[in-house]
């Protein structure tokens, strides 16, 4: 399963980073209920968050949903890697 880059944990609830401060729910998800069901099955959280579109990086603990500018959205900070390869069936033979 694939984690969503917009599913942000704030204390004990999940917020949709694409539509803050709305909660991450089936009805709110901008990508539709089918994608939402797939995306929430596996989730990873990041210690750092990007406030977009101003491209400001903050610690997750510093996030203040009330102070966001209109039109702002929140994205998890991610790491990019090289050479990660999932094993496929033919490899296991």
């Amino acid at each position: 399963m694939v984690p969503c880059i917009y599913r942000i944990r704030v204390e004990d609830r999940f917020v949709c980073g694409a539509r803050p401060p709305l909660a991450c729910t089936r009805g709110v998800c901008p990508f539709g209920p089918t994608f939402w069901e797939r995306l929430i099955k596996h989730d990873t959280q990041s210690h750092m968050l990007w406030i977009m579109p101003e491209l400001k990086i903050i610690r997750a603990s510093e996030l203040d949903l009330g102070s966001l500018e209109p039109g702002a959205y929140i994205v998890k900070s991610v790491s990019l890697s090289a050479g990660r390869r999932r094993r496929c069936r033919s490899d296991r033979r």
Binding site: P3, R38, A82
Partner: protein
């Protein structure tokens, strides 16, 4: 399959051995010791030489296909945090390369609104940015940034028989766009080293080489990216395995399975994009457009 056969499959063999005047930038884990490098920026505290067994091969492939090309490298750690990767993109942009090879990525689903995708789109306005789709397949939504950004060319992989490679990442993006854009062979051997290179990371340099050749003829990155897509050779994809339906009577269980399979049946464009890279036609078409034909 050797690199030579892979180049032949994508019709790049007759174009290989040149590349004079082409500028190619690589953002990766390092360089090969014995291949030439015109310039580099090191964003790690280690030597520029690759120790991860990744960037070295990407560099070697591009050097073998385009031995006369000017190759530039931005070395980044593995894994690399996104803010450092954005710095790498800035550094690569300074050389104004014809093509940029990015064989790194995240596997987090995105719609192109994340910072790495946004900066990669800016880079795509000056260079053809060729990104590995990733090795997160066969699950859908596994193309992460920067491959899922709007203006980059995401390259998936086909195996040695030119059939879709099962672990090649699949689209769509979160906002429903088709990815990858094209596919290129993987699983070929670097002849003298005896190393088999598997993964979309090593199908990407083939597309980057073709993109650099085309962009050196026609310096319009957006048009070259589109040419690479439009000239690709279609690949047949078997979408549904219906072997579980046997005989004339369809049982209730089989029907249920069929309906489930149909619901998640992927579009072929989310597996192989527009098809197999066809470097010969791309370069010919770029030449025709450049000459005003």
């Amino acid at each position: 399959m050797s690199l030579r056969q892979a180049l032949d499959a994508v019709r790049l063999l007759d174009r290989a051995g040149g590349g004079e005047g082409c500028r190619v930038a690589i953002i990766d884990t390092g360089a090969a010791e014995d291949a030439s490098l015109r310039g580099h920026v090191n964003l790690t505290n280690k030597s520029i030489t690759d120790t991860e067994g990744h960037g070295e091969y990407v560099h070697r492939i591009i050097h073998r296909v385009l031995p006369e090309a000017e190759i530039y490298l931005v070395k980044v750690p593995n894994p690399v945090p996104d803010h450092l990767f954005i710095t790498a993109i800035h550094e690569a942009m300074k050389w104004r390369p014809h093509a940029v090879n990015i064989s790194m990525g995240s596997e987090m689903a995105t719609d192109g609104g994340d910072p790495v995708s946004i900066y990669t789109d800016r880079l795509a306005s000056v260079s053809v940015v060729v990104c590995a789709a990733g090795n997160g397949g066969p699950r859908p939504l596994s193309v992460g940034s920067p491959a899922c950004s709007r203006e980059t060319l995401a390259v998936g992989a086909v195996n040695m028989k030119l059939r879709p490679w099962s672990s090649s990442s699949r689209g769509p993006t979160l906002d429903g766009r088709f990815k990858p854009d094209i596919v290129a062979p993987t699983g070929y051997y670097l002849d003298d080293l005896g190393v088999r290179l598997v993964g979309t990371s090593f199908s990407t340099p083939l597309a980057t080489s073709a993109a650099a050749l085309a962009a050196s003829i026609l310096p319009r990155p957006m048009i070259v990216r589109r040419l690479l897509q439009l000239t690709a050779q279609p690949i047949p994809v078997t979408l549904l395995n219906l072997s579980f339906i046997r005989g004339q009577t369809v049982s209730r269980t089989s029907l249920h399975r069929l309906l489930r399979a149909l619901a998640f049946s992927p579009d072929p464009r989310n597996i192989v994009g527009m098809g197999l890279l066809n470097a010969g036609d791309t370069i010919a078409e770029a030449s025709r457009l450049a000459s005003g034909g």
